[in-house]
Amino acid sequence: MLFRRSALAAQVAWLTLVFAVPASAQLLNQDHPGEYSREDIATGNRVYGAQCIQCHGRDGDQISGVDLRRGLFRRAATDEDLARVITNGTPAGMPPFRLQPAELTGLVAFIRARFDTTATVRVGDAARGRAIFEGNGMCGTCHRVNGRGPRVAPDLSDIGVTRAPAALERSIRAPSTAMLPINRPVTIVMKDRTTIHGRRLNEDTFTVQVVDDREQLRSIAKRDIELLDVGTKSTMPGYADRLTADEIADTVAYLLTLRE
């Protein structure tokens, strides 16, 4: 029910947006979702430094509930949403910015590229990429997408929003060089000698939270742990030798469409 409601809300918002600000929506010409030109990203970098950094900060995380580099927004979901928020401002106090079309395109690109002005990634065909994901790539053996697949590895349903193309490509080719530290595999030997294998979800001074290999959420007090081993090697195989460059580009394209 919850999903259905938010989908409806998103649809209403989208319709409003299409009719209210068609200009900004048309600005964003992309061959593929998530793919932005280096020129646009560089333009956006300049605009950000001059206009946005005062409030959003160098890392884009100075406004509570907003983390531009990590794709966490209060209102925006799509590129068009972002453009609208920038153009119109927000009731919470963000002023409207009257940018040139190229500046607006660039700023959205810069935010979507996670402030990374250097990356160039080839993005292939999403339909072929989906076939690889579900077929000989066997990605669905561990990853879950839109309610299908196991929960052992991170759920990829919104990976196209939370990761830039360069990071996705790196994850496919050599997962250990791209695995976020929080996602590291853990082996926990408890003082009672039971052992837990899983993926770390959170950790603090006294506790660690994991999803174990039986898909159970576990929160464990460190005082009950004999050994906490946090691995730096991803349990995912690298695909640099398993897929061709074209297939990797196609898989990246598919992942970029996952924007739940």
Binding site: G49, A50, I53, Q54, C55, G57, R58, D59, D61, Q62, S64, G65, D67, R70, P95, R114, D116, A164, A166, A167, R170, T177, A178, M179, L180, P181, I182, R184, L201, N202, E203, D204, T205, F206, T232
Partner: protein, 555 residues
């Protein structure tokens, strides 16, 4: 007759019970004399750092090593505004005064958490701040409160009603000036400094008549032509030299000196645009409280390229330092070195790293760092947020130790870029990225906005350090998984209270670092815990996330 008796008893109560009186409401009447002797009335917390020496050390002893485990929640006051709540409350005669974002002030019954009044201030849309709508608290004198605003005003409020008495413009917010620090009252003046180190400001301290708001003196942290120190600047760089002030100073009545930690030079990261030592950025300046005249200075990080603001609180302690009675100033600096200075003249006595440092190989005989800049793209320790930062430290005369919230195993890769000054715009000249294990992984940043620690301890962790000022050695350390921006409080009963970004609030044994008690409050602690007592009962207050939380012993 009954009414007369009642009135008489209100008048007589303070006389009868003396310093123990705590529940009298009404005009606060905090005299300048009482501020001088703040330590003598530990039931109150009269200044940002708990007294002019800024030791954050309370003589209250009711909560002690044996009973601290019996602390229980007494009340919570939720903030209605989201964002880091960095304010340190003050407490006067059972009434707590605290600021909340952006520039509101609340008067609270310190025993129950019920609010007497709320002052709301509307910040000008011209205000701009680098790092959030922060405010760190109020000052008190007589029956007035004083608070600075994000649009660089100084406002005096009636402490009984919360109504503004005067409001003066300190600086132009359109040029990036702001006030985030709690002011300090000395004698009949309100002293305050300006923030804006990322906007090419020219920092200054100003003193205002507490009754009228009239400015009495002003000291620029960036000396102009003809002033001593101006020769440490080249060309016009001094005009946009930064030198912000965003943490409350300390004061030594014996010498009538106020001690101010000065922020970074502008632009932050490109020192080539400002050749020279760039005085008095990243320094401590000793200013005469009556005239604002500079008596001495000590610069921690000349020609800084790392944004190593020296906005730490100057901790004043009279020590028998290595056999010599010494009026010392203890300083754990953002640049990773711990210093002992002679506060009468600024002379460097001793300095040593308290975290890993590779931007300098050490300090020379005068305390000047020997720079070892790292090649472009290589990590620099400590990282951009420093070995510590503005988080209030504590000194306990009882243990003789200095307590610091430090960041360990934390490095940044700094880069310099061209910077052109445009009034009111960010003037940074580069940037800094935290060193992370994989490209694009979350680095530790200013403040925490998520309940999940996505960055983990591989990018740095927090440690409460007990540093012996005699040697610079750590007597003990208390390691946390995430970093900490919490201030520290110690008491005469050898308790240490602190928090961290994970939302735990701790009581440690100040002698050993042993954990005696903790509460999981959930939200990051980015203020300084305080203690006070009302009606003979001691309380401890801390802010966690969007909640101001007060603990006391189980009754």
């Amino acid at each position: 007759m009954r009414r007369i008796l009642l009135a008489l008893s209100i008048v007589l109560l303070p006389l009868a019970v003396g310093a123990q009186v705590t529940s009298v409401t009404g005009p606060t009447a905090v005299t300048a004399e009482r501020l001088l002797r703040a330590a003598d009335e530990p039931q109150n917390w009269l200044t940002y750092s708990g007294g002019y020496a800024s030791q954050r050390h309370s003589l209250l002893k009711q909560i002690e090593l044996g009973n601290v485990k019996n602390l229980e929640l007494k009340w919570i006051l939720p903030d209605q505004v989201f964002g880091a709540w960095q304010s340190t409350p003050i407490v006067v005669n059972g009434i707590m005064y605290v600021t909340q974002r952006p520039n509101d002030v609340l008067a609270i019954d310190a025993k129950t958490g019920r609010v007497f009044w709320q002052y709301r201030y509307t910040v000008s849309p011209d205000a701009r701040v680098c790092c959030g709508s922060n405010n760190r608290g109020v000052a008190v004198l007589g029956d007035m409160l004083y608070t600075g605003t994000l649009d660089a005003h100084l406002v005096a409020l009636d402490a009984t009603t919360g109504h503004p008495v005067w409001n003066v413009t300190v600086a132009d917010p359109k040029l990036g000036y702001s006030i985030t620090m709690a002011p300090l009252v000395v004698k009949d003046r309100v002293l305050v400094g300006v923030g804006g180190g990322e906007y090419g400001i020219r920092g200054f301290v100003a003193a205002f008549d507490a009754r009228t708001g009239k400015e009495i003196w002003r000291f620029y942290t960036i000396p102009g032509p003809g002033e001593a120190g101006h020769e440490t600047w080249t060309g016009d760089a001094w005009k946009t030299g930064g030198g912000s002030l965003w943490v409350t100073p300390s004061y030594d009545p014996a010498t009538n000196l106020t001690f101010w930690g000065v922020g970074n030079p502008g632009p932050d990261w490109n020192a080539e645009l400002r050749p020279g030592d760039n005085l008095y950025t990243d320094s401590v300046v000793a200013l005469d409280a009556d005239t604002g005249k500079l008596q001495w200075h000590f610069q921690f990080s000349p020609n800084d390229t790392y944004d190593y603001d020296s906005v730490q609180v100057a901790v004043l302690a009279d020590l028998n330092w290595r056999g010599t009675p010494t009026k010392a100033m203890l300083w754990a600096n953002r640049n990773g070195f711990f210093y002992v200075l002679d506060r009468t003249n600024g002379r460097f006595l001793f300095g040593t790293p308290f975290v890993k440092v590779n931007w300098a190989s050490g300090l020379d005989a005068k305390g000047r760092p020997i720079p070892t800049p790292q090649p472009p793209g290589q990590p620099t320790w400590p990282g951009n947020q420093g070995g510590t930062n503005w988080y209030s430290p504590s000194f306990s005369p009882s243990t003789g130790l200095m307590y610091v919230s430090a960041w360990e195993d934390y490095a940044s890769i700094f880069r310099k870029e061209p910077a052109e000054y445009v009034a009111g715009r960010n003037f940074a000249g580069g940037g800094a990225n935290p060193v992370t294990p994989v490209p694009g992984a979350p680095g530790v940043r200013i403040g925490r906005s998520t309940p999940i620690n996505n960055w983990t301890d591989v990018v740095g962790h927090g440690t409460v350090m007990a540093i012996d000022p005699q040697t610079g050695l750590k007597k003990w350390t208390f390691r946390q998984f995430d970093v900490t921006d919490s201030g520290i409080l110690t008491t005469a009963s050898n308790l240490l209270f602190t928090g961290g970004r994970e939302g735990y609030f701790y009581a440690l044994d100040a002698r050993t670092g042993a954990e005696l008690w903790k509460a999981s409050l959930g939200g990051q602690v980015v203020n300084g815990p305080i203690t006070y007592s009302v009606d003979g009962r001691q309380y401890v207050t801390v802010i966690s996330g969007n909640s101001l939380v007060t603990f006391g012993l189980r009754e």
